[in-house]
Symmetry: C2
Subunit: 335 residues, 2 copies
């Protein structure tokens, strides 16, 4: 098994993980995914503006295909493959939206998707991965267990690995959301996205700073999964956090590449508590009339906690996704 894992790690290392995508890569990604991805609307709410004291522009990636921004990165990665690579199929690991996104992108291209899924993945997200026709490969819940399964499948299939965030193709794809947003809305002075592995926030920073070097880039992170904030504070990547958050999309840690990008771009990570996130989620449902998952609500929770920081600002917020279990809303008592 160690040998397999070593091969797996070396296959990872061979990819262009260590190089940040540039703005050109984001623009190419935008052209590549245009036939497949939705141009998602930017929504506003007069009452949320009044409540927060700033002007909020919500980029509604919950309305993206598969219900999350993840489709952008996965689609860009899948359509970046050569025909020879594509013929071997794609392999990834994901407990959620990235898995569904890779599954759909592969189905659109007509190639095989294999998704390693930990046994504790949310049922609603698992169902989506299956619905889009991917092969689901169950694994244990620790990163080591998942890596071991990945390595095994990789050895058997030589499939192309598409990492959920620590992959330049994926980061470039995620950056297209901000490219689109800044074409839809003039004169934003700040942008904010939730941060987990950092793929979305990295792409956000690259696109935003290319279009406006003076724009401020914020990440929003649950306190109880606060490794990114801690990593940037310390100046070194923190690993081994045990996240304990309702935000099932925000339990990963920064990768080496995303850590570097966020540090280079001086992204500022702000935190919110679980109660603040749930309250913000409910507000988004009530005022924006959007079904968003808890991860999507962290930016609004952050804005409400840090009123003074954002007072009067024109802030673009990426609403990352909308895949929730409609039987279990966090503000309702468990049935």
């Amino acid at each position: 098994m160690l040998t397999l894992q070593a091969r797996f790690q070396s296959a990872f290392a061979m990819q262009d993980f260590h190089t940040s995508p540039d703005f050109d890569a984001v623009q190419h990604a935008a052209a590549r995914i245009a036939p497949f991805a939705q141009v998602t609307p930017v929504l506003r709410s007069a009452s949320l503006d009044a409540l927060t004291g700033c002007q909020l522009f919500f980029k509604s990636e919950n309305l993206q295909r598969v219900g999350a921004f993840k489709f952008r990165g996965a689609c860009n990665a899948v359509y970046s493959l050569s025909d020879a690579q594509a013929a071997r199929g794609v392999l990834t690991q994901s407990s959620g939206n990235h898995g569904a996104a890779v599954a759909l992108a592969c189905r659109l291209r007509g190639i095989t998707a294999r998704v390693v899924v930990p046994r504790n993945a949310p049922a609603v997200k698992l169902a989506a991965i299956r619905e889009f026709g991917a092969d689901i490969i169950p694994s244990g819940t620790t990163q080591a267990e998942r890596d071991a399964v990945m390595a095994e499948v990789l050895a058997q299939t030589q499939a192309e690995v598409i990492h959920p965030f620590n992959d330049a193709r994926v980061i470039a794809g995620q950056g297209t959301a901000t490219l689109e947003l800044m074409n839809q809305v003039n004169s934003l002075d700040s942008v904010m996205a939730p941060v987990s592995g950092g793929g979305l926030l990295s792409g956000t920073a690259i696109a935003a700073h290319a279009l406006d070097p003076a724009i401020r880039v914020f990440g929003a992170e649950p306190e109880q999964a606060g490794d990114a904030a801690e990593s940037l504070r310390r100046g070194e990547r923190v690993t081994g956090w045990i996240p304990d958050t309702i935000c099932d999309g925000l339990r990963a840690e920064l990768g080496p590449l995303t850590f570097d990008i966020l540090r280079t771009h001086r992204a500022q990570i702000l935190l919110a508590s679980e109660a603040e996130i749930i309250a913000a989620m409910r507000l988004l449902w009530e005022r924006l009339k959007l079904v968003v998952e808890p991860s999507s609500a962290v930016p609004l929770a952050v804005v409400m906690r840090h009123r003074a920081t954002f007072a009067g600002r024109r802030l673009g917020i990426i609403l990352s996704g909308g895949n929730v279990d409609l039987e279990k809303l966090p503000w309702l008592p468990a049935a």
Copy 2:
């Protein structure tokens, strides 16, 4: 009281209720409300298309201001008033979205709104009316009781009455949703809206047939509030139905004007059961990631019941509103 009621009815009769607005009126309404109303996005879902066997284009009026299409008609009516009329303020009756819409439109114009509200109005809608600064005037729950209160207030204030649906200005305003939709989407062969008092469906029919005389116009109505279907079937306006539906926005009966318009335009009303409506509502939340109220789900419920009728069609659906009590979702057991 009879005298007051007679005066009230005659005030109603003096308005241009008896004349259908034409397409010019819809276009004027569009220009009038443009500074205030949202251009709502048209959303699609590949999975709902697959599920229904047709191409569905959802005009997302739940994302309209006050969370419902009602803002269009109310805003058009309020901004149609002369300064002298406006100075006397506006009076209406509504248990829901129309009340909030009139309240907001009046606040935008800086005039007084008075809303007669039955005591059993949904709390979430009542809160919105209050939030937008209207004077709330409580009444009993029957139409007669509400009319009596209306007459009394009218006698005291000489306020301008804006009926929720049986008013040409309101109908023209509601028609702007379809005008917008048909500018956003080419080659629809059918449009569908929920029907209650018939203001939205009347405006829909007027706009749709002006832009494409061959387009088919469908209304969607809860079986348990099926007076419009019955009225059109009989060729005479049915009154006295006692609606029993979860769709709190669909409990009114057609008015004389809307009945005439729907008959003239040969609108076809199709029915759905309560269980079908709840299932469709849950699907819209899950697949479109939109918070919609039960009324908005009736068209999808109808499409799913009448698969053969809609197979292969390009159907525009007006999602009428998104004001729901997030503590009480109809697919969850009562807390």
